[in-house]
Amino acid sequence: MSTELLNEISENLQRGKAKVVKQLVEQAVAEGIAPAVILNEGLLSGMNVIGEKFKTNEVYVPEVLVAARAMNMGVGVLKPLLAEEGVKAKGKVCIGTVQGDLHDIGKNLVKLMFEGKGLEVVDLGTDVSPDTFVQTAIEQNCQIIACSALLTTTMGVMEEVVKKAEAAGIRDKVRIMIGGAPVDDAYCQKIGADAYTPDAASAADKAVELCRELAGDVA
């Protein structure tokens, strides 16, 4: 029975049925399914399907957004319960569009994909200075700084972020990810960032992987 309900949550999430997802999550809680199970096997697994389909171009930005909206409705129900149980996020990321750049569609998409993978996200918005990225990572104990840029004229700020992070002495604890139309893997290596990913879904996979590596390093 519980598998059926979880599948139903996942499928409605994929179709962006936010209200239905919320109701089903409440029902699952009432039926006594563990919040972490609802989160992982209902919500996150549904978001995972969307992420994979996004990678293969089967669905596009709008579908991801409605699915994410549905997920957030479900997560809203679970949040207090998860906190009670002491369920922790898989990692913490601060994300933003770099200074001088106001494009936020791509950045928002990556943020949603991060959340869809169970990561905690601090959204710094657009036009974010290198100092803000680094200070936030330090103050909020983020494992990852994720920088977005859509202009060839602003992508240079990413290098500044890497330099500031080095100067602050956090490069062993924090990974820097970059993305956006004008950047690529070669640029990532050139400026000494840790990872470039071509799309939002791959970015989320990579972030989870980096968080795992860091946890392994620490342990």
Partner: protein
Amino acid sequence: MTNGRTVTVSVGGKEIPAGVGERLGALLSESGLLAGDSFAMPCGGHGRCGKCRVKVTGEVSPLTGRERAVLSEAEIAEGVRLACLTSVTGDCAVTPCEAGGQSQIRADGSLPPFTLHPTFSRVGAALDIGTTTLAARLYDPAGRLLAEVTELNPESAWGADVISRMEACLAGHAEQIAHTIRSAADEMLSRMAAEAGIGTREIDAMVITGNTVMLHLLSGDDVEPMTHAPFHANRLYGEFVKAGEIGLDALAPETPVYLPPCAAAFVGADISTALLASGICRSEKTAVLVDIGTNGEMMLWHRGTLHATSTAAGPAFEGAGISMGMGGRAGAVDRVKVREGELSAHVIGDAAPVGICGSGLVDAVACLLETEALDETGYLEDDPAMIADPVCLTQDDIRQVQLAKSAIHAGMRTLLSAAGVDCAEVEELYVAGGFGSYLDILNAVAIGLLPEELGDRVRILGNAALAGASMLLLAGDLRGECERRAREVEMVALASNPVFASEYMERMMF
């Protein structure tokens, strides 16, 4: 196409025989009876340019959708038709449309009426520096068009969009870029002068319009502040310079060159001059003017206030970023229709298809939606979708179109919302720019490039930026109005605008 029956067509009072089914356009061109009037078919009879307007009474084929798009309601009510799209079905009478009063321009139907006050005494030149295309005209003081040339913008060697060109400037190529565009302008002036049988030194005034970045690149002004937020422009023009100062060697160094005003870094002189040509500010009607290009610049005129914005549509409609995209050259699919459930494509120059241009792209996507090969989320049933062998569209191409059309559509709705105007309140939508001239309006609405509420009130302007520049050349008194509009326009910022963000998502769907 005729069925043998002969009928009589009266052309300006003279009667000529015609076969039923014969197109008025071909009939009138061959008869030469309207040659001295405003009748012309520069687009080759494709119903694009609207220059073959005639008044028709009697038995002819019903009004086509294309004509509804090009003609105003008033014109339709008066019986105005596009000769190229109208077939004879019985006896009928044709009269030329008025070319306007004496001091009006006849050489180009797209100039609205205005009184001549030429800013020159011998020959005047107008140039529009588009990011992709350059277009220029020579006029005599009576407002007669002496020559017209177009050219691809050679600055594309430094990238297709303004951002990459500005980046090239920052990398130290500013002088080279300035030299390139100035040489191209000189060369166009020389070609036009030769065509008109004059020397370039006889040109004694010039107007050069273009977006803010284009004018900076021409003048050699520093573009750095425009490369990042808050996108400040060092210079907004609306001033005279001397030909010598901007390195136009074809002209005498003291020749005055007017650079029309820009409103902001991304709302340039090109939209200022297009605004003038559209004439929307001279009417009580609520109207929108949009130039669909890499940057979709748009303006709204509502109750005496002008609002403007610009949206980054990307170059999909210019053929860039689409796997088999190309400009509107020979071999480009420029029209697609559904015939008996199958796609049927028209190719420019009757050549074998090698790629697809902007208008073809809009048609193709509309057709794929119609045949349900494409669903409303933009998912392509079979990827790639064949349009005209070997030209096809991939799933990724469709995604690019979704981004581009949604940026334009959402930009327009955000502009309206910021001014508190409901979309249905807009009485006229003027579409300017090269791509716009070839756009099938019904398909543009079908794919959601333009709001569905406005599909029946679209007017195609053609190169309105150049038309407006020509007006400034021929009527110096219009400068004041042009500069005042650019100064007083209310700018609407789309970045971080919540209305835009939600519209952008919504309009991405089909």
